[in-house]
């Protein structure tokens, strides 16, 4: 079987990458170790990969994956969508609680010691909350253990989706 024609720059050799699913506000650096775009698809490593992982856990409703991943995720979306946030301070509090949940899960994953320092989580900082009717844009900065940062915008629809 022919492998997909994704051209990986030489500086990414030896690193493991993920697919880009949540674009960050940090510009992609072609050829750098943060983001590489190959026409229709993109792969990520480094702090952007870390930020994406953090966002994936943050935006996964805890318990929704089920099975052996029953405990994966955070309570951010359920809390916001259940009307738990009336003020920005409420959003801050919910964010901090959810961030702590994510931190614990990432700490367990990072404990294996197999990740480079720029993919190990250190901190997440809530930079801004932009409230629109039925919608929140939460702007977050993720810092890795190596000190790199990546900024990411969490799109939060306040009306629960029905699947």
């Amino acid at each position: 079987m022919r492998r997909p024609s994704v051209i990986i720059p030489a500086e990414l050799a030896g690193r493991q990458y993920d697919l880009l699913a949540i674009p960050t506000t940090t510009p992609g650096v072609v050829g750098g170790n943060t983001q590489y775009t190959d026409f229709a698809s993109a792969v990520v490593t480094g702090p952007i990969k870390l930020a994406q992982r953090w966002a994936v856990i943050m935006l996964t409703a805890r318990g929704s994956m089920g099975f052996h991943l029953q405990d994966a995720g955070s309570d951010l979306l359920p809390e916001l969508q259940n009307g738990g946030a009336n003020t920005e301070a409420d959003v801050q509090a919910i964010f901090q609680y959810a961030n702590e949940q994510v931190r614990q899960q990432l700490a367990i994953e990072d404990a294996g010691g197999k990740y480079p320092a720029d993919e190990i989580f250190d901190n997440a900082e809530l930079l801004e909350v932009d409230a629109q009717p039925g919608y929140l844009a939460i702007h977050v900065k993720i810092t890795s253990a190596a000190g790199n940062t990546a900024e990411i915008q969490l799109p939060v629809t306040l009306t629960p989706s029905v699947i």
Binding site: Q16, Y17, Q52, F67, G112, K114
Partner: protein, 540 residues
């Protein structure tokens, strides 16, 4: 046949995790540059596409394996869709018996001797059960060849019979004799309608458990050599209501007498008696017979009639004589004299060797001479030789004639053997249970329990012993707040030569071994009616 997954909740966590781990491992080996431990690839590809979808595949594979595994079906047959069981057992040449509709005759009583017409598909109803007339019936007092007789019952009442069939299949349609019906549309002058005899032929569709049980019994190749082969052969007959139970008597068995006819009483083999339980219980059938006065005894006429073998297949005895006009029971069984003789036609003698009443008992080759007295003759003593119609109430096991005919067919019969189908000798069981209870139970509840006990007894194969534990098992399950102090059982065996009453021996009722009389554990079956099981509970 389809395999369905109606909810992801049906998946096991172990399956999902295993499939997740497997796809992660495989992808990692093939593409070491992918990070499958966390992130989008982990969540979307490895977990959803690999773990969940892989577990779905595993679930379907397990379903398919279960559907194709006899041992798996035997342990979980109740949960398996019928079509899967059907598909697998078709490999064993077994087909599920479909439900069949009960049939019988309804006697309609009218107040005038005017001709009555009952149209085909006229509805006869009892409780919520519906039956329809199988054919149109025109009844008159002077019928031609296409009409039915409108028979006088006296007291300005006339009656005629209508053949009916249940609308829905099921054993529930096997209603008992004398069950009242309503008719729609109702013909003029009708005052009542009732079952002329026990209805029969109603059968529920075979369940997975019953079909699998039949498969286990039927693993032997159908044939006419060994007992298991003969039973497997008989199981192929799809006319039998319910799964028939059989007991095979052959060469060397003390019950077998037919293979030692001749100058020297030496068993020569080649004869097989098949005692059958073709229905859970024997049934009551009414037939109208013209009887003749053969003599006068103390000023009372002695009536006699003869029942040919076409009328007596599987018949045990005449349990009552019923007067037609006026309608009432004249005699119970004890005052009816029976003479049973083998009746073989010339073409039968090459296939079957039956010489005695014991040998012919319960088969399709017996005839009965019935005698009884009747003081109910009005002002004038009927002369010797005069005739009159009576209803005879027969107690019999169904399907004996059809089963005999089937096994005698050229494609089924043993080329050099003589297989005789016989109704199992009935041992009617009467049970009394006494106990104390901390709770009141309704009469309806106790009736249901009696029916449950009767059903359990009527499912027993031919066996030597009925244990009281069978009864106590049901009672303990159904009456958790009661303590059963005593169970009394006795049985009445309607043997070929005489009736024998057996009493409880310890905690069991045991069939005596009287092979010369045709009564042994291999010929006799326990029969119970709910009405004969009495439960008495005293409030503690």
């Amino acid at each position: 046949m389809t395999f369905n997954l109606t909810s992801l909740d049906q998946l096991s966590e172990a399956d999902v995790q295993q499939a997740h781990d497997e796809i992660s491992q495989l992808l990692q080996e093939k593409y070491p540059e992918l990070d499958l431990r966390r992130g989008v690839l982990h969540d979307i590809v490895a977990f959803l596409a690999g773990g969940v979808c892989g577990a779905i595949s595993q679930h379907m594979i397990r379903e398919a394996l279960t559907a194709s595994s006899l041992s798996e079906l035997l342990t979980s047959s109740a949960d398996v869709p019928a079509d899967r069981v059907d598909r697998l057992l078709a490999n064993y040449n077994l087909q599920r018996r479909q439900g069949t509709a009960a049939r019988g005759y309804v006697t309609v009583v009218v107040t005038k001797p005017d001709p009555v017409v009952v149209l085909k598909d006229t509805t006869f109803t009892v409780a919520s059960l519906q039956f329809t007339a199988t054919s149109a019936v025109t009844a008159t007092t002077t019928p031609n060849s296409t009409q039915s007789l409108l028979l006088s019952r006296g007291n300005n009442r006339w009656e005629f019979n209508v053949p009916v069939t249940a609308v829905a299949a099921g054993v529930i349609g096997n209603v008992a004799v004398d069950t009242p019906f309503t008719i729609s549309p109702q013909p003029a002058n009708v005052v009542s309608a009732y079952a002329n005899g026990d209805f029969f032929g109603g059968r529920d569709e075979e369940t997975n458990e019953e079909l699998l049980e039949r498969q286990q019994l039927g693993l032997a190749k159908p044939g006419t050599s060994s007992p298991s082969h003969i039973i497997a052969k008989l199981q192929q007959n799809t006319d039998i209501s319910d799964a028939g139970l059989y007991s095979i008597i052959g060469f060397g068995d003390p019950e077998m007498t037919r293979d030692s006819h001749g100058l020297l009483p030496i068993s020569r083999g080649g004869k097989v008696d098949v005692y059958c339980r073709t229905s859970p219980t024997p049934q009551t059938q009414l037939i109208l017979k013209q009887c003749t006065v053969i003599q006068h005894t103390n000023g009372i006429p002695l009536w006699q009639c003869e029942l040919s073998r076409e009328e007596t297949a599987g018949v045990y005895f005449v349990q009552a004589i019923r007067n037609v006009s006026p309608d009432r029971i004249l005699h119970g069984r004890n005052s009816i004299t029976l003479q049973r003789t083998p009746q073989l036609l010339p073409q039968d003698t090459a296939r079957h060797d039956i010489e005695t009443a014991v040998e012919a008992y319960g088969s399709a080759f017996q005839s009965l001479v019935v005698q009884f007295t009747s003081p109910d003759f009005g002002d004038q003593l009927p002369a010797v030789g005069s005739t009159r119609d009576f209803y005879l109430s027969l107690w019999q096991l169904p399907y004996i004639a059809s089963l005999q005919q089937w096994i005698d067919a050229p494609e089924n019969r043993h080329p050099s053997g003589d297989i005789l189908i016989k109704a199992g000798v009935p041992c009617r069981v009467i049970i009394s249970c006494t106990g104390t209870s901390r709770q009141d139970y309704s009469e309806a509840t106790l009736t249901v329990i009696s029916e449950t006990i009767a059903a359990r007894i009527n499912q027993l194969p031919f066996t030597s012993t009925l244990y009281a534990s069978l009864v106590s098992d049901v009672l303990q399950a159904e009456l958790p707040h009661a303590r059963i102090d005593y169970i009394d059982m006795h049985g009445s065996i309607a043997g070929p030569l005489q009736d024998i009453v057996i009493r409880q021996d310890g905690q069991a009722l045991r069939i005596p071994s009287l092979p010369a009389s045709g009564i042994t554990a291999k010929t006799t079956m326990f029969v119970a009616a709910a009405a004969d099981i009495n439960l008495s509970l005293v409030r503690a």
